[in-house]
Amino acid sequence: MSDYNPLELMISIAAHTMEDGSSVVVGTGAPCAAAMLAQKTTAPNILIMFEAGGIAPQLPTMPVSVGDSRTHWHAVMASSMGDTMAMTARGLIDYAFLGGAQIDAYGNLNSTFIGSNYEKPKVRLPGSGGACDLGCNCWHTIIMTPHEKRRFSEKIDFITTPGFLTGGDARDEAGLPEGTGPYKVITNLAIMGFDNPDRRMEVESLHPGVTLDQVKENTGFELLVKKDLKETEAPDPHTLKILRDEVDPHRYIIGR
């Protein structure tokens, strides 16, 4: 029995993926927890931004909206959406965190609707918000999502946020800035990447106690598997303590 839950593991991995001094745009929930955890542990100089305009806040508690007061608490600036989004467009933002109802083998994400007819959706989802914009222009997109077969789908119903589209050079050919795209997919089972010529999702690391078969069973498409498949490092006690005591003391996120 491990002494941490899957969300605590995912948030710790995400936090330690970002270098000190890098920049990140985050949303509410687990991504925000990851950025806060990074700021309080391995990346004290991380530049955190929110799409509604909060720049470099010292987040006191978890925001409920990416535009609420917490997102510019002790910030250097409360700016605008145009300003934050323009920063992603001119190459200033290293990391973005995204999720979605569906993801395919090339890291394309759907958060718009489920069904076969856009005009008459089976389930209408919120839409892009800033997700598409961030996924298009930030250098690295990190996707955090529960690992479920219905989410990891061969064919997604709508490309809200383009990943590597049909793979290979398709993203560059679509005109998206070179060197951008999905970077890691962090789930409750594994860490996956796209570091191969086909730009297809590839298992890089299995979480402690998880088998490759388990990952495959919960994925609706064929996964590549890295030759030197690793075991994910468990979060260290210090990181867990900060996460539990300072980042999310009310267990809004890690208690789910």
């Binding site: 509604a52 305009g53 839409g127 298009c136």
Partner: protein
């Protein structure tokens, strides 16, 4: 300019800058007193069929009083800019006030979950949807502000929002790179809640500005609701203070605590209990009908609504939460 791809989504507003110029040519430049109550402002400037923009960020710095008034006065067939529209969208969906929407983010209330009723309304087929993104709508407002028919960006390339929007993909004449177009968006009327305004409409806000400086400039008519009316010389004493100049503005309404149950940066936090109550009650259509009667239709004004939820006492608690006192 070479067109590579053409979106099939309908443009809900006309991006022609000369139509906008013809309007702005006639717009009054006079520094006159524009103070009125919310009911009058909505009656005068929000008409059936108008295209509406809403300031703030869904549950942050929203013009709740005017949104309730639009529902209460029974406005229909509005167009709407769904630019991270959350609780505001939930209110207007409850009144079925709009029948077409430019979508960046709707239906959801961010970390709080999804509005069942707003989702039902969008899934009913009664609403024409056109798909954009937050940056896309921000670019569209900026194009309107600049008086150009469109701006370009690289966001949305490769996404399905391009075929479901009014965007084109074009080839850049300088670099040969692909670019998506974002046509100018001139709302007929926008409503923006701010911290302070004078009686002429000069207005200032703090916290995240979202796209409101551009929204005010792009819109043909603007209603400002404010926490506080301030003295006439306030802005002249500090010319860096105004985010919105008076000549953009048609009506000024003083509505203390007017973003409730939304957050007002520096003033009070959102009332998460009340928003949760709203989200929960939507699951039961009959109960929700009664809830709307109790909170909007059979209520005289915003002050009465706020009173039903604890009034100034409640705001005091939310103010402590906002300022992180007692936490």
């Amino acid at each position: 300019m070479k067109i590579i791809e053409q979106g099939k989504g309908e443009l809900l507003t006309n991006p022609d800058p000369d139509l906008a110029r013809a309007h702005f040519r006639k717009k009054s430049r006079a520094m006159t007193r524009k103070v009125m109550d919310v009911a009058n402002a909505v009656a005068k400037f929000v008409h059936d069929g108008d295209y509406l923009g809403i300031g703030g960020f869904g549950g942050v710095r929203i013009p709740t009083a005017a949104l309730h008034e639009i529902v209460r006065q029974g406005r229909k067939h509005l167009g709407l800019a769904g630019h991270t529209a959350t609780h505001d969208f939930q209110i207007l969906a409850a009144g079925e006030c709009f029948d077409r929407v430019d979508i960046a983010y709707v239906v959801g209330l961010e970390a709080r979950g999804v509005s069942k009723n707003a989702r039902r309304y969008l899934e009913s087929g009664k609403v024409k949807m056109v798909e954009w993104t937050n940056a896309g709508l921000a670019w569209r407002l900026k194009a309107a502000v600049l008086g150009v028919p469109f701006l370009v960006g690289r966001q949305s390339l490769g996404a399905d929002s391009v075929p479901h929007s009014g965007s084109f993909v074009i080839e850049c004449p300088y670099t040969g790179k692909k670019l998506a177009t974002f046509p100018a968006l001139y709302p007929d009327v926008s409503i923006i809640h701010v911290h302070e305004a004078d009686e002429f409409g000069n207005a200032s806000m703090s916290g995240a500005l979202v796209a409101d400086e551009d929204l005010a400039r792009a819109s043909k008519h603007v209603i400002i609701t404010c926490e506080r009316l301030v003295a006439d010389d306030t802005f002249r004493q500090d010319p860096n203070k105004a985010n919105i100049p008076y000549f953009c503005v048609d009506a000024v309404c003083e509505v203390p605590y007017g973003s409730y149950p939304g957050n007002m940066p520096g003033e009070y936090f959102s009332d998460e209990d009340h928003i949760k109550e709203w989200l929960t009650i939507e699951r039961d259509e009959e109960a929700f009908k009664k809830f709307l009667d109790d909170n909007i239709y059979n209520v005289k004004d915003f002050e009465e609504y706020l009173g039903k939820h604890g009034g100034v006492k409640r705001i005091e608690a939310l103010r402590r939460k906002e300022l992180m006192i007692d936490e």
